[in-house]
């Protein structure tokens, strides 16, 4: 088997507050390891604040990790110098959640799309324009968008522009950070379909972040379930939905409205709030909300254990079943 395009190993990020007074340390990520195979889409799911954006941005080294390795195509990005990293950047691109904040209001769409090519000094002016126009076509926007400003476009159109900007550099890996969460439900499907067709046509590798399991199921090959900066479960998409093993994944899945009548009664709603990452529970971080928690859960951090090939979970109880 070929080595995965991206391999994240032991990624840890603690945010410390700036200034002289030392505030609490926010343990946003703790020992995160996963792989993204070439040409596949890996989903990253978790509630708001679980650390999804921090993982996505750490992968592109837009956030410096506290510890861990980001191995991209065999190279540990965290070891690269600034100028070496700059050269790698065309190979990894990011799609943002907020279609309004991610486009500069002072640049035309053409300037926005050519920015990456300008920065990386790729091609002549004419070639840059041609590549930007081609990207515009790929996301189904009219060519006259080129000379317009972002405020003239709707949220869905802006998100297409954001996708086009990521495509212009012809990256190998795209991190899509909740690309549809800020959009109208009616538009979400269009954008997800667009991403999916681009992914298969261009053979892209993608880390697809979402807090919505339903969206992830549709587009991802593998899903990683995240809770409070720790991985709870990793499984192939169809397995995760048919045979979830971790109590947290089960709770998330049962919260999705289901068309089957019998299932509705088995719904299990998560109780309580997510603890603060500045002060996470000892042992298993999910124990404060877990219906199956026992004393032992507070004592040991559950390791990720394989339950089937390609399927791992972090829960010490093996005696519970759905």
């Amino acid at each position: 088997m070929r080595e995965p395009l991206l391999s994240v190993r032991g990624l840890t990020k603690h945010f410390t507050s700036s200034g002289f007074s030392h505030g609490p340390v926010v343990r946003a990520l703790d020992d995160i390891s996963f792989e993204v195979p070439r040409g596949k889409v890996v989903g990253l799911v978790g509630e708001s604040g679980s650390g999804k954006t921090t993982i996505g941005r750490s992968v592109l080294r837009l956030i410096e990790p506290t510890a861990g390795q980001i191995v991209f195509d065999g190279v540990d990005l965290t070891k690269l110098s600034a100028s070496e990293m700059r050269r790698q950047r065309r190979r990894l691109q990011y799609i943002f959640q907020d279609p309004f904040g991610s486009l500069s209001p002072r640049m035309t769409i053409g300037q926005i799309l050519m920015e990456g090519l300008d920065i990386q000094r790729i091609g002549s002016r004419a070639e840059r324009g041609a590549r930007a126009k081609k990207a515009l076509q790929e996301v189904d926007l009219p060519a006259d968008a080129f000379v317009r400003y972002p405020h003239e476009f709707s949220g869905g159109q802006r998100q297409r522009i954001g996708i086009a900007r990521a495509l212009v550099l012809e990256p190998e890996l795209i991190v899509a950070d909740e690309p549809v969460s800020a959009l109208d439900v009616s538009i979400q499907a269009q954008i997800v379909n667009l991403l999916r067709s681009l992914q298969s046509r261009l053979g892209l590798t993608m880390l697809f972040i979402s807090h919505d399991l339903a969206v992830v199921e549709y587009i991802c090959d593998t899903v990683i379930v995240l809770y409070l900066g720790r991985i709870m479960e990793i499984a192939p998409s169809e397995v995760l939905y048919s045979d979830p093993r971790h109590p947290y994944t089960r709770a998330l899945l049962s919260a999705i409205p289901s068309p089957e009548i019998g299932k509705a009664s088995a719904r299990q709603i998560l109780k309580g709030d997510i603890p603060s990452p500045a002060n996470p529970p000892s042992g298993c971080v999910f124990r404060t909300r877990c219906p199956h928690a026992i004393d032992q859960c507070a004592k040991t951090v559950p390791p990720l254990e394989e339950v089937a090939p390609g399927h791992v979970k972090a829960c010490i109880r093996h005696d519970i079943s759905g």
Binding site: S18, R57, L60, L62, M85, R86, R87, R89, R90, L92, Q93, Y94, F96, D98, G101, S102, L103, S104, P105, R106, M107, T108, I112, E115, G116, D118, I119, Q120, R148, Y149, H151, E152, R165, L169
Partner: protein, 294 residues
């Protein structure tokens, strides 16, 4: 139909074009702009339409009031007040514009250094700015001026060194906020270096601050120059400036009997400063982010 046309045409424009459009419907600002243009044109073209030169001495006309030969009268050594007023305007405006240009560049670069240079640099630079701002401006000005000496260049130097800290604070605050915006993160993600971030994103997004600051600061600089020259620390005679022409009013005789010798430069100063303030306020309103919301 004309409404629809104007809406779509303003939608096509960038934020700066829209701000300037808003400026042109601000009547007071336009009046200020017209007055300013008249003053600048007069000052720049006066040799073409006025036959006296600023240092030409007419010994038969000492301290003479306004007449058909000398519209604004003459001063104590027989020099034409109008010619000196125009030449003084050149010097005052030159000093103001140049020193503001310098302090704008310094202010922007220091603010940029502070916001993009990391925590340590930011801390050090901001303490320095605090220090520069706590110094009493008058004393700072006098000390600087007495070190730098008199003349056009030293005066420009003194005024530019005095006024950048406020701007650098504003630029820093704006850039710190900008740094976290997604489109700047996107640029970093594409490999943008400091130069790209500062000049493709930082500068365009500070343009409102810079334009408004520069405009209002020109008015300030004109007053500073006048103040320095009045105290004998700015532009030294025989070179004319509005400030050192006002200096003549220190003599009670001139103040009471030769009113034209200080009234005209005084009026020119007030009129110019007012006009610039009108323009500056208009620009501030035009660039107000809230006006882009509807």
């Amino acid at each position: 139909m004309s409404v629809a046309g104007s809406i779509s045409s303003s939608a096509r424009k960038g934020p700066i074009a829209r701000a300037l459009e808003r400026f042109t419907i601000n009547r007071i600002a336009l009046v200020g702009l017209v007055i300013l243009l008249c003053i600048v044109t007069a000052v720049l073209t006066y040799p073409l339409w006025w036959s006296y030169t600023p240092n030409q001495i007419d010994l038969r006309a000492l301290n003479k009031g306004p007449s058909s030969a000398h519209w604004f009268g003459t001063d104590g050594v027989g020099r034409d007040v109008l010619a000196r007023l125009m030449q003084g305007g050149r010097v005052s405006l030159l000093v103001a514009v140049t020193s503001v240009a310098i302090s704008t560049v310094i202010g922007f670069l220091i603010g940029a250094l502070s916001s993009f240079g990391g925590r340590v640099v930011d801390g050090a630079v901001m303490r320095f700015v605090d220090l520069a701002m706590t110094l009493p401006p008058v004393i700072f000005l006098l000390v600087l001026a007495s070190i730098a000496g008199t003349g056009i260049l030293p005066t420009i130097l003194v005024i530019s060194l005095l006024s950048w800290p406020v701007l650098s604070r504003m630029v820093r605050a704006r850039l710190l906020e900008l740094r976290e915006r997604d489109f700047v993160v996107a640029a970093r993600g594409m490999g943008a270096g400091l130069g790209h971030l500062l000049f493709r994103h930082g500068l365009p997004n500070c343009i409102d601050i810079l334009v408004v600051y520069a405009t209002l600061q020109i008015a300030n600089a004109i007053l500073l120059e006048a103040g320095l020259s009045f105290l004998g620390l700015g532009i030294a005679p025989p070179e004319a400036s509005w400030g050192n022409m006002l200096n003549a009013a220190r003599s009670t005789v001139v103040l009471e009997q030769y009113v034209w010798q200080w009234m005209f430069p005084g009026a020119a100063l007030v009129l110019t400063v007012l006009a610039i303030n009108f323009v500056g306020d208009g620009l501030r309103d035009a660039f107000d982010p809230r006006s882009d919301l509807h």
